[in-house]
Symmetry: C2
Subunit: 601 residues, 2 copies
């Protein structure tokens, strides 16, 4: 195929679009790959569509290689299946809802677990039918509060989503592993670096889950990794839990006056004299900070919870949000924020700056069984036997030597504090460093959540009904195009990896001579006949500067200039990525280009 | 590629789905091509998706052959562009509307004229950029009042829509002609008979327009054609207009008593004695019937109009609906119905059963300038000089010899009466016969309607701004799959044309012997290696009857049975369409099948 710039529907832009924050957005618009249609909603122009189709083709091939079969679900779906799993409610504002002319409720599907589950239930009934993996490449919709960064966080976007169906956990493990390997091959073929990181399941439910993050500074996801190979997103990092401490000989806790110590710093300073530690000075890590948070439930109601953490650690609201679901009365999308003054006024027992769990048995304040009745969760470092300086629930007073598990209890343990560079990886593989990334893919062991809610069962080998266990696996297809652009550009424009470039070679006729255009045409024709996709800049009255500028902006990996060198029998072949150029005899040019294209394939 | 029935996500059904009215719907569901997700909304299973992708590929190739370039627009679009052309209002209930979390209005696009116009405006500015044709293959949405017949009238469906942009009318003619030819090639390659028929532009606006109808009894569209080659849908048929008649010597009209003659039949009978025609008996065609209709405007208001037609012709409300737009104060989707008793009560001057235009100059009743002020439109047969028997606007009285153009006038002429078999084709090509069809494609010369509304102009060769002229061209892609199934089936199942079949050949292992399965595998592998897509029924414990039944239901064009004949060295090759079978030596089978596949290609 030859794409002629004289007729190609393309106009490169000199100016960056006003709303473009990141390079991929800026360059994909300027180079004529996409146009914005509405916030977070984009139109694909011919070059963009060419890249998109190549990405899709690689995904299809790798899905086929693990035996996954392609289907295609509607994007417009009735409410009922999503009601059965409670996601109609759980999604809150983040999905597009609409009504048809008969007042029926519909949504634009953000993901299709329910529909796949129901389809398999509809057609299959025996363990012999399994394992099964199905997938689709399809438009998805999310009503993002802040669509941003072009294709990176859109409201209409393309995902490849697959779903596996197995009769038992071993089968799910195998399906999950097959998808994981396929994903690694897909990203490798695309030329997109990814780090598989442990993740929390979030609103999807299920147990094991990994994200494939593309490391980049503009990524919205923070993750941590160790030199020894551990990687997890921040929400999923687990704390190295200390061993419990024998407290049989621990002295009784005592309440002391600590006037004007409403903060950890003031408390630590005062404690050195009020209750000095003979072994070493007190630090923030010796104090137990009790933070009141307001959880906005999917119903719109607010619930206050208290989180107890070592005083030297900040509470990470995103980690709380990811992990608090198990302790709440209702599943779904929640919001977490610090409790407001107004929230605190509803709790007269809370003395601000001096809040503590209280002293059991008589004076327990926090916890569902305490006087406040407030849910009380603690950081994993609060193990039985640890001793704490914490608030005594009276202005200007703290309690010293309060022993966890003896003097106070809690409703649950939650991963909730900030992860710091230098913290130990939970698998002992060394200290953690933090990085940012874009989520390119996500694989979940859903388990039986959806199959149970929608009653997907099959007969097992003994004729007994068993609930199917499922996995769900997604790749952001349009996002992959953006991530590829983000990580493959320089100050002059895009630099596509060969596997996804809109053309294999960009032939530029530079100058005015008829023989130049004739040779450019001939070469393009020869390269096309040898199976390459050729972009041919055959615009008659465009200056060499504009043509080269466009070629660098568009980013086809190999650029051939047919120009004045022709008089001495040479063409100039340029490698877009390295910038290196070589003068090649006209007669060798086609071979040279074909070799360059195949070398990277 | 080998599709193995042992693992293919497929379950054929013995029972017809309860809601299936037509064969294509019944068979596509039973043979495992599609499943219903909601009314008018379908899921594509692997076999259906394979057929769909083949149809899309043929369309892409033919679009490329006329230089049309592929792009892809969002389905979810903001209101504003559709407001600029008034279609946000005009579409009424027939589109899906929704709001985003910021209360912004959006729609699921039923067609994309506005977006394409704006995109070209965004990128192009000179006549040198034109002509241009762009297309997409994309999900469209219409909130049909009565989704029916499976894929034939859905609410989420795939269309190929293209748009041409030209600087002048000659350019539009050329772009229109190129699309017309491409469409004929597409339908020919698909193996789908179509008749191009003249059509009305309807809500799209514009002038010239043709539909490509696939003739079938279950079609929703009625069209007419003549032996001489005229074809039009019923809405677009034009009447053969008689020449005006000299009325300089016509006697004055006279009002006569015609008691108890509120219908055409009673009037004709009475007229033979009240005012006998010396030359021949009166017929209904001599009377002018004035029918009061209520037009429901897009605003929801009702407007009464009166249509004057020869008394022997019924008013065809669909023809009125298609053609009345030009006479209404507002464009958009309208409804037409007979005026109700209540509507008529609002018009005290109307005497039911005796309504006429009145006698000019003093007594004109109908028409915007008449006493009623009601819009008055007449059938094209009401030419100046024709003489009519019609109501005198008094109970029991009619007027005789009322001369059109002398005694009464009208606000406009409208194609509005039923078209009858035997009516003359307007181009003189003979009498019309009626037929039914499914609309497979529609091509429009939009002209400048959208370009004007959205200000798409380019500089012409003289540096002057000119408004671009556009065409719009659609093919129902999912509907094509249904139409192909509808016209290619027998009592045993589907019979796909080769160009769109989900596989080239269906190899069935019949029996239990290991050597049978081994030979089926070997043959499938050989056929695959020679470039064919092979369906292989390798299910180990399924009876021959079930396997053959499934093969006939699924409808792959060539079926090879590997069974007991193997002992004597032969396989049975069956042509699904003709039903003919042939025993072929094992060694020749692959050649034989490849020849059969290529022969039809």
């Amino acid at each position: 195929m030859v794409l002629r710039l004289s007729t190609l529907f393309l106009r490169t832009l000199r100016e960056d679009p006003a709303d473009a924050e990141v390079a991929s957005h800026r360059l994909l618009v300027r180079a004529g790959y996409i146009r914005r249609a509405a916030p977070g909603i984009y139109t694909w122009l011919p070059l963009g569509l060419a890249v998109l189709h190549r990405v899709e083709q690689i995904i299809r091939e790798e899905m086929a290689s693990i035996g996954a079969q392609e289907v295609h679900f509607p994007a417009l779906l009735p409410k009922e299946p999503y009601e059965a799993t409670n996601r109609w409610t759980e999604y809150g504002d983040s999905i597009f809802r609409l009504k048809d002319r008969k007042d029926g409720d519909y949504l634009l599907a953000p993901t299709h677990e329910e529909m796949f589950t129901l389809l398999v239930k509809d057609l299959y009934s025996s363990y012999k039918d399994l394992p099964l993996s199905l997938y689709q490449i399809q438009n998805k919709y999310r009503d993002e509060a802040r669509p941003r960064a072009g294709l990176l966080r859109g409201r209409e976007f393309i995902m490849k989503d697959s779903y596996s169906f197995d009769v038992d956990d071993a089968g799910l493990d195998a399906s999950y592993a097959a998808h994981r390997e396929a994903y690694l091959r897909i990203f490798a073929r695309l030329g997109l670096e990814v780090v598989p990181v442990k993740a929390t399941a979030g609103a999807m439910g299920g147990s094991k889950s990994e994200e494939f993050l593309h490391p980049t500074e503009i990524g919205e996801d923070t993750f941590v990794r160790s030199a020894g190979g551990y990687a997890a997103n921040v929400e999923a990092v687990t704390t190295v839990v200390p061993a419990p401490i024998d407290y049989s000989n621990a002295p009784a806790a005592q309440v002391l006056d600590t006037p004007e110590t409403p903060t950890i710093d003031t408390l630590v300073a005062a404690s050195q004299t009020v209750f000095p530690n003979p072994e070493r000075p007190w630090t923030g890590a010796d104090t137990l900070k009790n933070v009141v948070l307001a959880v906005k439930l999917p119903t719109g109601e607010k619930q206050l919870v208290v989180i107890g953490v070592p005083g030297d650690r900040a509470v990470d609201l995103k980690r709380v949000e990811a992990n608090i679901g198990a302790f709440l009365p209702i599943a779904g999308e929640i919001g977490i924020e610090a409790a407001s003054e107004e929230d605190l006024r509803s709790q007269p027992l809370i003395v601000k700056g001096y809040l503590g769990p209280g002293l059991e048995p008589e004076d327990a304040l926090l916890g569902l069984d305490g006087k406040s009745g407030l849910l009380y969760l603690v950081d994993p470092r609060v193990v039985p036997g640890t001793r704490w300086i914490t608030g005594a629930n009276q202005p200007g007073k703290h309690v010293y030597g309060l022993v966890a598990g003896r003097d106070f209890g809690w409703d649950g343990v939650i991963e909730c504090t900030e992860v710091r560079e230098g913290d130990e990886a939970p698998d002992g593989s060394g200290p953690l460093e933090t990085a940012r990334g874009i989520e390119m893919g996500h694989i979940f062991q859903l388990g039986r959540k959806y199959a149970e809610a929608l009653e997907l069962k099959v007969l097992d080998a003994n004729g007994k009904q068993v609930t199917v266990t499922m996995g769900s696996y997604g790749i952001g297809v349009t996002r992959a195009v953006a991530a590829l652009a983000e990580s493959n550009h320089d100050e002059r424009g895009l630099v596509w990896p060969r596997a996804v470039a809109p053309a294999d070679v960009h032939v530029v006729a530079v100058g005015r001579g008829e023989e130049i255009f004739a040779e450019a045409e001939r070469l393009a024709g020869e390269l096309e006949s040898r199976g390459l996709t050729v972009m041919l800049d055959d615009r008659p009255k465009v200056s060499p500067g504009v043509k080269f500028g466009d070629a660098e902006l568009i980013g086809v990996p190999t650029i051939v200039a047919v120009g004045n060198g022709l008089a001495s029998g040479t063409l100039e072949v340029k490698d877009r990525r390295s910038g290196s150029t070589e003068d090649v005899p006209v007669g060798d040019a086609a071979d040279y280009v074909v070799r360059a294209v195949r070398a990277d394939a």
